[in-house]
C-alpha cells in the first residue's frame, strides 16, 4: 500500500502552488523575459491573501487581492527589464530578497507578531472534492495557456516577441506591450499560487513560507521547456517526488536522503531530456553525435 489515494492527494496538494507559479514563469519565458522572481511574487501573494482574508473575513477577496498585489509587485520586473532594460536575473533576485524583508516587516507592523501569524478564526479556502478551487483553476490554466500559446493570435505574437523581437516589431507588434502583459500574467498566477499556499495548503502566514517553491517552479519551467503541459509534467514530478519522500521516511529511509529525492529526480529528468534532444538534433542536421 505504498501508492494509495493519500499519496496521490498529498502529491496533488504539493503540486498546485508550484504549477501556478511555473505557468507564470513559462508565459514570461515565452515572451523572452527570464523570470526568477517567482518566489518573491508568490510570497507577496501569501501575505496579501492572509492579510485580506483576516481583515475582510472573505478568503475570496484574499485570493483577488493576492493576484492584484503580486501583479503590482511584478511591475518591478516589467519596468526594470522592458522599459529600463535592466538585467532580469539581478532584478529577480532582488525581488525575492525584498519580498522576504517586506512581508516580515509588514507582519510585524500590521499584526504585531514575528515569525508566524496564525489565528483559528482566519478564513481559508473551502475544499471542493478534497481540493481547493484554486487547484482546479490551476489545471484549467494549463489547458488555457496551452491553447493560447499554440492557437490564439495573442499567443503566437507573444512567442514571436520572445523569439525575434525585432522581426515582431517590424510587423507592427509591440514587444514591450507583450512583455509587460506576460510579466503581469505571471504576477497574477504567482499571486494565486501564494493564495493557494497560504489559504489552501495551510491557513496561516509565516515568514519565508514559500520555502523554495518559487525556485522549484523556475526549474519546472526549464525542465518543461516552457510548454504548459511540459511544465505540468515537471511540476507533477516534483509533487510525486516530495510526497513519496515523506512516505519513504515512514519506511525508515533517513530524512537527508528523502530530502534529496526531488533533486535527484530533476537531475535524472534533465539528463534524459537533454540526451533525447541531442539525439533528435543530431538526426535532423545529419551530424553524427
Amino acid at each position: 500500500m505504498f501508492f494509495d489515494s493519500d499519496l496521490l492527494m498529498s502529491a496533488l496538494r504539493a503540486l498546485t502552488p508550484i504549477l501556478l507559479a511555473a505557468l507564470g514563469g513559462a508565459v514570461c519565458e515565452r515572451a523572452g523575459v527570464f523570470n526568477i522572481g517567482l518566489e518573491g511574487m508568490m510570497l507577496m501573494g501569501c501575505f496579501t491573501a492572509v492579510a485580506t482574508s483576516w481583515f475582510t473575513g472573505s478568503p475570496w477577496l484574499g485570493v483577488l487581492a493576492a493576484a492584484l498585489a503580486a501583479a503590482a509587485y511584478s511591475l518591478i520586473l516589467a519596468v526594470g527589464t522592458v522599459t529600463l532594460r535592466g538585467d532580469a536575473v539581478v532584478l529577480g533576485v532582488a525581488m525575492n530578497l525584498l519580498a522576504v524583508g517586506l512581508t516580515s516587516f509588514l507582519l510585524r507592523t500590521i499584526f504585531g507578531v514575528q515569525g508566524t501569524f496564525d489565528d483559528p478564526s482566519l478564513a481559508g479556502l473551502p475544499l471542493v472534492g478534497g481540493f481547493s478551487p484554486l487547484a482546479y483553476l490551476a489545471w484549467a490554466a494549463v489547458a488555457v495557456a496551452a491553447l493560447m500559446l499554440s492557437r490564439h493570435v495573442w499567443g503566437l505574437r507573444l512567442r514571436g516577441v520572445g523569439e525575434a523581437p525585432e522581426a515582431a516589431a517590424t510587423l507592427g507588434v509591440s514587444p514591450a506591450r507583450y512583455k509587460y502583459a506576460a510579466v503581469l500574467v505571471s504576477g497574477v498566477l504567482c499571486g494565486l499560487a501564494g493564495a493557494q499556499l497560504a489559504l489552501g495548503n495551510v491557513t496561516l502566514f509565516s515568514e519565508n513560507m514559500t520555502a523554495g517553491r518559487g525556485w522549484i517552479a523556475v526549474v519546472a519551467v526549464m525542465l518543461g521547456r516552457a510548454l504548459p503541459f511540459g511544465v505540468l509534467l515537471a511540476a507533477l514530478l516534483f509533487g510525486v517526488a516530495e510526497a513519496a519522500g515523506f512516505r519513504l521516511q515512514g519506511l525508515g529511509l533517513p530524512q537527508q536522503a528523502t530530502d534529496a529525492a526531488p533533486y535527484v529526480v530533476t537531475l535524472g529528468a534533465l539528463f534524459l531530456s537533454t540526451a533525447q534532444r541531442r539525439r533528435r538534433t543530431g538526426r535532423t542536421t545529419g551530424v553524427a553525435s
Binding site: 502552488p17 524583508g101 507578531v113 523554495g212
Partner: protein
C-alpha cells in the same frame, strides 16, 4: 530549540536598527540614567541580549522576566537589547560588553560563536548563555541547557493514555540528535503507559525546514494516514501546519516551548514548556556567587522544563488536557518518579 524560525535573512527594508530599548527601560537615555543610579547605590547590573525582537515571543518574554527578577533581587538594574538579525546580534553583544555589566545574559544558539570570541577578548566579563553553550569551556561563560526530553516523555505518556488507535507520531524539524529529543522520548513515554503503542517520526527537511508549514502539514498528514491520532509537533513555524492537519482529522497534537493551545483550542492537548525565567534567575545567582564557568542543566527537577498541564492556570490555558484530570494525575506521578531519580529518560542527544 524549535521555538521559532531562524531569524530570516531580512532585506534592508526590514532590517531593524541595532539597538532597541525595551519598554522596561524606555529608551537608551533612560537606561543610562538607571545605570549611573545603580553605580551609586552599588547594585548589580544585568544586560540581556535576545536573538529576535521580544514582541509576542513568550520564550523571550520569560527571559526578560528572569532578568527583571534578578535585578530586583539584587537591587540592581537591567537592560534588554533586542536583535533583529545576525548583524544586530553581534552589535548588541558588543554594545553590552562595552558597558561591562556584572552579567551579560544571551538567549539562544545564535550566540554560541560570538560569545566565544568575546569571552576570550574580555576575560573579566561574565556571560550567561541560555539554551546553548560554547563548544570550548571558558571560565567566564556559564551555560544553562534544558533537558527537553524529560518533558517530551511526559507528553508522550499523555498521548499514550489518550490515544484510541494505539498509534502516536512526531513531526521534527530535522533529523538531528537535538531534535530527536522531541520524538524518541515521546514514543518512550507513550510505551511506558501503554506498552502496545506504536510510534513513528517524520522530519520536515527541505529547503527551509524551520519555515515550511505546508510541508510540516503534509508530514503530519502522512502520520495521520497511517492511523496516528496523537502527534508531537516540534517543527518550529511548521507546528501550526501540524495543528491544522490534526484538527482536520479530529486528532490531537502537542506543542513546544510555550503554551500553543491557543493556536488550535480543542486540538492541542499540552505543551512541553521551557521556563527561561527560572534558568536566567538561577544562572545569575550562580555567577554572582562566584561559581561561573559551569554548565547547568535544567529539567523537571529544577523546574526548568514542565508541561502546561502541570503548571498553574491550566484551566484557562485552552489545552485539551485540562479536561483530563485522571491523565494529569498519572502524569504527575510519572514526573515525581523522574524528579526523584527513580526513572531516567534516555537522552537521544547523548547517544
Amino acid at each position: 530549540m524549535p521555538r521559532r524560525p531562524r531569524s530570516s535573512r531580512l532585506a534592508a527594508v526590514a532590517a531593524g536598527t541595532a539597538l532597541l530599548a525595551t519598554a522596561a527601560t524606555g529608551c537608551n537615555a533612560a537606561a543610562k540614567n538607571d545605570d549611573s543610579a545603580a553605580a551609586e547605590s552599588g547594585g548589580k547590573s544585568f544586560t540581556l541580549v535576545t536573538p529576535d525582537p521580544v514582541g509576542q515571543n513568550e520564550f523571550l518574554k520569560l527571559a526578560v522576566d528572569g532578568v527583571k527578577a534578578a535585578a530586583k533581587a539584587h537591587d540592581g538594574t537591567q537592560k534588554v537589547y533586542q536583535s533583529s538579525d545576525t548583524a544586530s546580534q553581534q552589535q548588541n553583544v558588543q554594545a553590552a560588553v562595552d558597558t561591562s555589566p556584572d552579567v551579560i545574559v544571551l538567549v539562544g544558539f545564535e550566540f554560541a560563536d560570538v560569545v566565544a570570541q568575546q569571552a576570550e577578548a574580555h576575560p573579566e566579563q561574565q556571560f550567561l548563555v541560555i539554551d546553548a553553550c560554547t563548544t570550548k569551556t571558558f571560565k567566564n561563560v556559564s551555560c544553562a541547557v534544558f533537558r527537553e526530553h524529560e518533558g517530551v516523555y511526559l507528553a508522550g505518556a499523555e498521548a499514550g493514555l489518550l490515544s484510541k488507535s494505539g498509534k502516536v507520531g512526531a513531526v521534527d524539524v530535522l533529523d538531528t540528535p537535538q531534535f530527536r529529543r522531541y520524538s524518541d522520548p515521546f514514543a518512550a513515554g507513550a510505551k511506558e503507559v501503554a506498552a502496545k503503542t506504536s510510534a513513528s517520526t517524520r522530519f520536515v527537511g527541505g529547503q527551509s525546514p524551520f519555515d515550511d508549514s505546508a510541508r510540516a502539514k503534509e508530514q503530519a498528514n502522512s502520520l495521520l494516514a497511517k492511523g496516528a491520532d496523537q502527534i508531537m509537533a516540534a517543527a518550529a513555524a511548521g507546528n501550526y501546519g501540524v495543528f491544522e492537519a490534526a484538527k482536520a482529522k479530529g486528532a490531537y497534537a502537542y506543542g513546544v516551548d510555550v503554551n500553543q493551545c491557543t493556536a488550535a483550542p480543542g486540538t492541542v492537548v499540552d505543551n512541553v514548556i521551557k521556563k527561561t525565567d527560572v534558568a536566567v534567575r538561577e544562572g545569575v545567582e550562580q555567577v554572582l556567587a562566584g561559581k561561573g564557568g559551569k554548565t547547568i542543566s535544567y529539567g523537571l527537577k529544577e523546574g526548568g522544563i514542565s508541561l502546561t498541564g502541570l503548571e498553574d492556570g491550566v484551566e484557562s490555558s485552552k489545552c485539551v488536557i485540562a479536561e483530563h484530570e485522571d491523565v494529569l494525575k498519572k502524569v504527575e506521578a510519572l514526573r515525581d518518579r523522574i524528579v526523584s531519580g527513580e526513572l531516567t529518560v534516555d537522552d537521544p542527544a547523548t547517544k
